[in-house]
Amino acid sequence: MPGFFKQCSALSMTNLRSLHRRKLISLSMVLSVTLVVVVLLGFLSMANGFRKTLAATGAADVVLVTSQGSFSETTSRLTTEQLHLLQEAPGIARDAKGRPMVSPELLVPVDARRQSDGQAAPLSLRGVGAEALELRPALAISEGRMFTPGTGEIIVGARLAARYQSMQIGDSITFGQSKWTVVGHFTAGGSVFDSEMLADIGQVRALFNRQGQVQSLRVRLGNPADFAAFQTYVEGLDMGLKAATEKDYYSAQSQDLSRIILFIGWPLAVVMAIGAAVGAMTTMYSSVSDRLVEIATQRSIGFSRSAAFVSTLIEALALTVMGCAIGVLIAWLGLDGWSASTRSGASTQLSFELALSVPIIVNAALLALCVGLIGGGLPAFRATRVPLRSAMTGRST
């Protein structure tokens, strides 16, 4: 029925053109929707950025072995005997010289000073074996060179070097009693390793007085399909060890934190959306009473109830869409790519970027749409019940 659309579009245009009479209250509706959208986008893009960072970290053919019952590497301990047995496990890839591609690792929390305010912030220094780079294909030296094993040399994530003091190549940096020389910067493809520093595990143990300590063993498999056999072997040792592919390990970690972010973000956004919907309803009711005589006149002329309904709803949706668009724009310009950091399970900082994505924006837009529909629905219904005799008695403004 083309007549119906003609009616709706005519009345909608008339409504929208009268918006300037209700400037303030309409603007308040737009801004409340904006606020809801920005908050939701903030949380969702945070969770998304975090998930992306951790997802970029995991490889399917690298296995992380920790002692069972430990949530993270830091609370895990592997004995020398366990390390020897683990090297015998099936499926481990070997390098050109026939050595098993494994890296015993040890994370030490250290303090570094931020360039911005000179304050100390906790970072992770990771002691690694000589094969560490082979086990991290995403990691690339962007400047300088790899540390030489057995020396007090250190390489740092390029992202950290830009933000903390004494991390330029050639700088020496002190952590507690230990002194290190920075010889390289690296990038790690947006993974958690981006916010770490790497040094020789022997040196780390010596300088931090952690003789003989290993927290985890990273193992490269010849083939991801070998994981089952490897895991069976590890469990068969019956030493309380746990093997997980890096991918699983980090995605499990990311799930926890993104779930927390979402558990805060969604309810907060929904509560705010309910508030915004109530506000929208007030706005739209006042729009209907502002247009009372106009609506009654249009209906007397012969415009249908449904056109009065739709045109009022469209006014609500137009304001909602405006608010949503402003919100997305603000999030785009202000939030996307923003660095955030968190204290991860390792109690050191992991930095990641807020990442907007289409599904996230769709989510926020749907929430905004609900605000518009709920806020506009009842007032639109009211518009269909305007007593027509008010056209006779009323003055239009």
């Binding site: 006149t297 002329i301 005799r389 006779m392």
Partner: protein, 235 residues
């Protein structure tokens, strides 16, 4: 056999609720307004003049009895059907003009045409013709706020006749105007009645409207009476 646009009210009873009781407006009112009539209805405030227009225009309903226009019985029709019927058969002229303030004169006149199958071009054409008839071709692009009261009412009348309805219902069309503008409006209505054959029912307080009307009825306490003095004045 009634003509196509004879308006007939048969045994109409209408009351409005007031608290628990009801105030009666009409009791057993029967009247006919024949096609081509120009009826002026006068009477004190609250006597039910607007209510009659609303009943004829299908924007209010009777308690008992029946309202019919031609062969169409309005009583009992659904709101949607009445709305469609109004679009095709009734033009309203209001005391306060009721123009859409943010639409230009031409757009206001075009509004009822959007309810017809006319193409955009045909609508423009028609708007131009009608604005010409009411003498406002020069003001087509003006907003109501840029027009005088008399001019706004002429736009109101142009809008009422745009879709070419047979019946015009006017509620105190000159009530808010000075003498000169009021006379222009009355002349315009007379022209629409005499030249274009519109049936006009006009509620008015304006004594000089009997100059243009074919009949004047006085409404008091729900009954129509014909007053000697009025007949005198107009003859």
């Amino acid at each position: 056999m009634p003509n196509d646009t004879d308006i007939t009210l048969t045994h109409v009873t209408k009351s409005y609720p007031l608290g628990k009781s009801r105030i009666p407006i009409f009791q057993d009112l029967t009247m006919t307004i024949p096609e081509g009539d120009f009826l002026a209805i006068m009477g004190p405030s609250g006597s039910g003049k607007s209510t009659i227009l609303n009943l004829i225009g299908g924007i209010d309903t009777v308690d008992e009895g029946q309202v019919a226009v031609g062969h169409t019985v309005l009583t009992g029709m659904s709101d949607a059907a009445l709305t469609q019927w109004r679009a095709a058969h009734i033009g309203f002229v209001f005391q306060f003009y009721n123009l859409m303030p943010m639409l230009s004169a031409a757009e206001n006149v075009e509004l009822p045409l959007l309810l017809t199958p006319l193409s955009a071009r045909a609508r423009q054409e028609r708007v131009r013709t009608i604005l010409d008839i009411v003498g406002l071709s020069e003001r087509a692009g003006h907003l109501p706020s840029e027009l005088s009261g008399g001019q706004q009412q002429r736009v109101g009348i142009a809008r009422a006749v745009a879709a070419d309805p047979k019946i015009l219902l006017c509620d105190e069309p000159t009530g808010d105007l000075d003498r000169t503008s009021a006379d222009e409006i009355l002349d315009l209505l007379q022209l629409l009645n005499r030249k274009l054959g519109k049936t006009i029912v006009m509620v008015t307080h304006d004594d000089s409207s009997c100059r243009v009307a074919k009949r004047t009825l006085h409404l008091d306490k729900g009954k129509f009476i014909q007053r000697e003095e009025e007949l005198m004045v107009c003859r």
